[in-house]
Symmetry: C2
Subunit: 252 residues, 2 copies
Amino acid sequence: MPQTIQMFGIEGMPEVRAGDDLAALIVEAAKRQKLAIQDGDILVVTQKVVSKAEGRVVRLSAVEPSPLALRWAEAYGRDPRHVEVILRESRRIIRMERGIIVSETRHGFKCANAGVDASNLPEEGTVSLLPEDPDASAERIRSGVRARLGAEVAVVVSDTFGRPWREGATNVAVGVAGLNPLKDYRGGTDPYGRPLRTTVIAVADELAAAAELATNKVTRVPVALIRGYDYQQTEQAGARALIRPPEQDLFP
Amino acid sequence: MPQTIQMFGIEGMPEVRAGDDLAALIVEAAKRQKLAIQDGDILVVTQKVVSKAEGRVVRLSAVEPSPLALRWAEAYGRDPRHVEVILRESRRIIRMERGIIVSETRHGFKCANAGVDASNLPEEGTVSLLPEDPDASAERIRSGVRARLGAEVAVVVSDTFGRPWREGATNVAVGVAGLNPLKDYRGGTDPYGRPLRTTVIAVADELAAAAELATNKVTRVPVALIRGYDYQQTEQAGARALIRPPEQDLFP
């Protein structure tokens, strides 16, 4: 019998509002579709609903754009207040070219627009920010599921990031709780007894990418459940472990 | 009933040798584990077995290292003939620092070591190269499966690539046949009727990443089958469509 991994999209989630208990909403939606969340399951939750539940939504009418934001927005036909929020969410600008801003977020993630995004928000004139501490967000969902069901799950908070060199974006992990985001083969050998070249795999990013196939930007399926993947349980490491320190990066 | 995607690791593949018919080996291994390959299934095949079947393995004793390869190998304690093969498989060096070579392969992929790799090869003193034309490799497996089973599948050839900014490597698509590697949301709207920010998703890379969770570097599971993902069938696009042209890249 082959190793089988299953992925389910969790449907029928209500519109998420600031202050909502996301673990409760996920548990109830899963129950409605007769999906019993179990020990060892992995919940992959897209960033947008996490940010909404945590009130990480900014009304643009309250934002005063800086001169840099005004100039950039004018040059590329964007909303200067939206650009201002991107700058505020950044601790360092990596590229600012052809209308694209790639920056390092306050968490250390490197991505376009510092994770600031106007899509999938019910109110016009608002943008969402990344969670303040996405690893803590993941942990809250994890402990909320445990409190309700007694099930020991892992949680990945995912967002859609572009990347250098390759067309198209993929989902990656911005928050992780309960599993080691990196699988380390160092010291391991191949079936012929020789050391493995690629020593560390970013399994949390692979889980986020896999879950994107089961969730859907258009039809409101913001959570996927992955079952049957034998991950390394840990309380220690969050998605922060996926951030390469600039001093070790050939592309800082 | 939620949308369910299933992934199976295809076990019990024999050692693959130059000239082997990979489609036949996959079909037989799947049959032995009572897995009936169906229309709409996606086979994700790791690069190493494709390269072996295609004889893309180089004996280092036949390689004459260049002065650059000799100097670099000496500085970082590597085999100069291995370094020479990396240089030969590159059309451009992007970074050559701290013992790491990041280059653009002859196909246009940007990765470490030009995809040249000494692991998972039965013979000591050999290294494997990427397939000559990985999209054609994927297509051969696809038509081989069709010829044997009548099943219309899609095929992704995957390899493990590192990336800037994030720790750990993930599997990505280097060859694609039968599915559109990019899912294009351009012109689409979110549930609130507003345009989507992230417009193009690299689903072939997400499929490769997902499959890595079901395959295994150590225990010889080089192929995964993904079932239940509703992809866009096409004869047109290969993994070449995932290569961002340097002139459109902020990180050329």
